[in-house]
Symmetry: C5
Subunit: 365 residues, 5 copies
């Protein structure tokens, strides 16, 4: 089994692994179904307004609650969902519905947006290319947006938000002057931007396959093609529902989203559509490449077989002629004639040339 | 005929078997069209509120009627639909429309929801993996939801509701504090959870086929592929309409559904969508696997044929040369020369090497 | 040309035969375009209410008109549309629009429903399996529903309504107590029930093809597959638009449809959807079977070719060796050696075994 | 290049020929982009009411204008669009928008309906089978419907309206008693009726291909298949948008369409749907035929190859045996035995029979 | 790698090249992501009303601002987007939202329309055939429409608007009498007209491939086919969203669009639909051509293989016969007979003729 398939298999796992873990538990039961079972829960808080900004590592759940009341924007980032009890504490402090908490912990959610009145709940899938392994990493991120707070839940540390953190620290640009809804937008924008990077990488791989195909079609490419197809199936499954979710955010009449944010959300929506468009284009391209591959391979085989068959076909009648004069009949007058042997050679050469000319004229090789 | 096809055939039966049984009967006639013709009708009742719970086995239809008036939540579970008269009695006591009763007995219904004012009628298909045979079992379940009662009709005993019964008995969690509508939700949730289990099993089988394919593509895999495809066709037919039914439940303005239930129904709806998504992804994967299979097989055949043809093609000209000097002409000067024989060997080896090099350079084998 | 194609060809005719017959006639001209050109027009009347029922054969058009005014429900069944004048007389007595009459006579209509205020016009296609020939018979049936009358127009005698006639005569069940709209429903229900029978037969044939395919794939199956595909294309064309028509009936606000009928119409609508679902599932199954067939055939050919090629490939080098020692050179020292002949045999056997082992190890046969 | 392709190429031209002619002209510029560049402009007028009818040939544009005011229905039929100036004069007299005139002259329009208040503009594509060449002729027809006038613009003389002219002259039927809107309907009905004729011819050709395929599959059929496919692509492109246009006409609230016309328009709409249905069915049938063709050809090739390979495979080992005893070793004891020769024959016959039996049992030929 | 693929690869670049350039920048950051990195920014202004017209080259951004207030229509055409600062200055002077400016600079936008109250923002993709290289050139054009100004942003000089400039200069036609909205329409019309030209060229190439295919199917056509397919994929991606954008423009209730413009916009919308229709038809045609190609190639290979196999099959038994009489048994009575040799010839000729007749009768070659 080649390397590319390993990757694909792992992806299948990522799609379905949590299914049976929670079987039989009542709705709203908090069971973490992801793969990061050993990741400790850590809370990081960035609290800011236009003038001030403070960052805290390893905040306790109790400390988070205090942030609920302040007028500054608080970004509470929770990594590691294995400690379901701590997640539950945060949830109950912020008045989050048990089913929402369940969705946060079941990390195979379909991207979706839910407006629960006092807060918005948004689940998306973060895709990014891991720099070392060059593999695509996938992780569920959930956001809870209240009036002044944005709580984000990640399965593991390591995310695509460092650019946002930098921008917050440096304080230039719009981000420090606006509310928690803009922060949500900025984070979502960072996630969607990373989709483009993932797609760019995928695009390069498709181009690579294509190039290899033009130069030297071989059967290994088939597995790569198939792996890419599956990769796209997976990306597509993660991104398609996002369109609906962000569309809902844009059209949404939630009081948590200020009027100023709507232009940004439309922009985000446009980007999502563009991502989906690109995924579909890639799928079309891959099926084009597959057609090309199959035709090329068929072509190559046909050519080989034709040339070889032509060679065989030319020699078979000649061998027959040789066989004739290898017979041991006593009464074969030709055998005694003086010029029999050279004549046979002449005949055989003429037959061979005739056949070659005929085959060539019919473009048989 | 191999084992996998047997399974698929039985499924086709399950889809269409009831068609001709009821031919010619007037609408509303109660004829049981399922396969469990010998299953006796048994009624089990679980009657509970937040404080108390009572379970009764083998309740009579008359006893059920009394439950209609109590304020406790009553779950009346009817198994075995062969005794149509008894089903009719329950129906008329609870004021159920004859066409609804007919639908309950015709166990090849498309999943659907009907709001009939005083009660809701919901038909779904329960799928579960039978632990012994590892086969997928399929059965129609109908629910009648009235103000305080939930009546469920099953074809046979054995279902996916034991987790719910346990939860009711233990009395922790939400379930005992809420009404019959929550019970309906909990049962539906158990059914949909089992879809995930069925899909997980299907996913494993697809993975298995894929793995076998990578290691040793052979023609048996083709039948397995086809059986899986048909299996998915069947699951899809059972699940697709459910989306609409549960969507109707969620949006429904029935007075039988309390406001508190709507968050749960939305959650259930999300799960249904996720199930459908997964089925579609599996179908895409299967057709990818099929493409891969066909290409692999074609590949393999081509390789074999090429190598064999190359061997034949090398020896055919050599055999011709040997044939030449096997001729019995009297005047063949080469025959008498001293170094003819070794020279012929040298020529033949050179020709063979030349062809091999040429073929190899053109990547013909 | 095999038998199955004959059937398919006849179906094509049934789909398009009437096209050119009416070319150039003004709209509303009454020309019968069906195939039953010799069928005499016969009118049968069943007139009933809850207490009484009377049946009359060979009623005159004049006698029909009298029924218009009575309060009993009158089912006027017209068979044989060749006598366009008589059809026209009935039409004008009941105030039917000329275009509607034209549609009744053009027996290649798409199923449709039209609400013309005073009456409803419904065209459907009746499909049933002819018991003798086992062929699918197709015929257009048009219904005109007025307040107390239901007029049905059939191309030929012989229909699927005998169960309804029996039920009317016996007088039990709902049918005698309800109006002409229920009668229309009952007849439509009989038609849709027959679709299930037709599909059941089709399903059996598909299963048969499948079974044959598993046991002995051969090229005759291909034609059967194709014929089934075309059969389904035809059934689909006849049934798809029905969904819309019956949906229109169900939602319809015609004053001719009483409130009590709506539950029955919804049931009928559900059945229609189920029929369409099944047709689509069959189409999917057929294309699955076709894939399987093509793969199986390719498989079989490949196996044969491989084994044969392996045999050829083993003997070609051996024949070459034999050819070598068949050469007539004077100076071939091996020829004189004592153990040459057995040595050559040993070499040849070793080569053959070596090749067999190699081929087997590579799973080439 | 065979004949069928010529036709298809011409069609492509008909689809795209006008593209570059008008490049760079301002919107509303009147350039005729069709192929009938030499056709003179001729105006024919039929002016009628219930009592009187008058026909005029070669009417001047000035004379047309006078008809605008009369209460009789005037059908002004313009053939030959090359004289754009004259078309422009008619346009300005009747107050037609320049963009509408441009659309009339650009004879590659998509069928469409536009309600411009004072008049309706309808563009459709007339398809008819030319009786001599049996080829499908395609031409754009534009209609301008005002209160009492219907102006039709055709590229060339020769149309499908002779039946309408006859009906007008004979004066029976509805046509003379109704207004210009009914005339528009009657002409559209004639056009749609001709679609059926074209489809009937196409259906016959598909049947012909199918029949040929069953009797003798050969590669010429492939090109015919492809040509038919393209023909349908073209017909489809011409007819699909018509559905929308006629649907718009039917639903239209234009004051130019009287209430009495709506039943006729609905009938026309039904016919259009039926045409589209038939085109789609034909496409499905063609792709079925193509599948069948490819399978049949593959089948045939496989059979030939198998039989030939079986023959080769039987003789190759036999030839090897003969080769063995053709060797010239001095010490080959068998050569001297008395019954060697017949024994070898027996062995060879047994081997041949054994292989034949084995191959036959495995159904290899 | 052949030439056609080079083109296609470049296109892929054009689709995705900008992705990673802007990664990590805050929303609204102005980074030019196109390929024309060295193109200097140049502003050209055409300022006109019905009477006067003035053209200015190399206008400064400051001079543009003055035009904002005048009542004449000003077309400010900006080429070269590399100087993002200058673009930003124009933007802020005209009060354009930062996200809109970002979209102008990110030249891989999906075509879209945004109504921002004071101005309309329209992004489209201009496609045109470069006359020298005959390659399709693609460039993003953005329009900002205010009350009296139309600002267009192009990546590089060279566009399809020269016809519009000429029309403005000459002053005949509608264009000088109407407002900035009509100018936007005229420019859009020029762009859509060029789509037709691009499609005409594509159509010619498809016809060319088709013609080559009919005359001499060979494997190079496969790559051309694939390149065309990808070209269409690209064109489709650029044009599809335009439908929505122009549809939005037509339906739009913006106060910037006068009533008189709506007929023109509908016309433009019709053209867009026609373009999309044509792209879809081309895609269908290409897949038809591909089917034809694959079948033709398969056909050709099969023919070659069959003829060659027939030749081999005829000679193999004959060679066997010759081998028989080449055996060196001492006791082979036939060897001594007088007419053995001619008899063997007669037998061999008869066998050969018999096989030929049999093969021919079965149409095996």
């Amino acid at each position: 089994m080649n390397k590319l398939f390993k990757v694909a298999d792992r992806q299948l796992k990522r799609l379905f692994i949590s299914v049976s873990d929670k079987q039989g538990t009542p709705p709203g039961t908090m069971v973490y179904t992801g793969t990061q079972k050993t990741e400790p829960l850590r809370i990081t808080v960035i609290d800011y307004d236009a003038e001030t900004i403070s960052e805290q590592q390893d905040v306790t759940t109790e400390a988070c609650v205090a942030l609920k009341e302040t007028n500054t924007v608080s970004w509470i980032n929770v990594t590691g969902l294995n400690d379901t009890e701590a997640v539950g504490r945060i949830g109950s402090e912020f008045g989050i519905h048990p089913l929402v908490l369940e969705d946060i912990l079941h990390t195979t959610q379909r991207p979706k947006l839910e407006d629960l009145g006092d807060y918005l709940f948004l689940v998306v899938r973060m895709l990014f290319v891991e720099p070392d392994t060059n593999a695509i990493h996938s992780e569920q991120i959930s956001f809870i947006l209240t009036k002044h707070c944005l709580i984000s839940f990640q399965e593991a540390s390591g995310d695509v938000f460092d650019v946002i953190r930098d921008r917050l620290r440096k304080g230039h640009g719009r981000i420090r002057k606006m509310g928690a809804d803009y922060l949500l937008y900025a984070l979502m924008d960072a996630i969607v931007d990373n989709y483009f990077l993932v797609l760019e990488k995928t695009g390069e791989q498709i181009e690579g396959i294509e190039q290899s195909l033009m130069e030297n079609p071989n059967s290994l490419l088939l597995n790569e093609l198939y792996a890419q197809k599956r990769e796209l199936l997976y990306i597509r499954k993660a991104i398609w529902p996002l369109r609906e979710a962000i569309g809902g955010l844009e059209r949404g009449e939630s009081k948590l989203l200020t009027a100023k944010i709507s232009a940004y959300l439309r922009d985000l929506y446009d980007h999502t559509i563009q991502v989906i468009d690109t995924v579909e284009t890639f799928r079309d391209m891959l099926s084009g490449v597959q057609d090309l591959y199959l035709s090329s391979m068929g072509q190559k085989t046909n050519q080989v077989m034709q040339v070889l068959t032509v060679i065989a076909t030319i020699f078979i009648p000649l061998t027959f002629v040789a066989g004739i004069y290898g017979m041991n009949f006593e009464h074969m007058p030709e055998l005694g004639w003086k010029y029999s042997y050279p004549s046979v050679w002449v005949v055989m050469v003429l037959v061979a040339i005739g056949m070659l000319v005929y085959f060539r004229r019919n473009k048989w090789f």
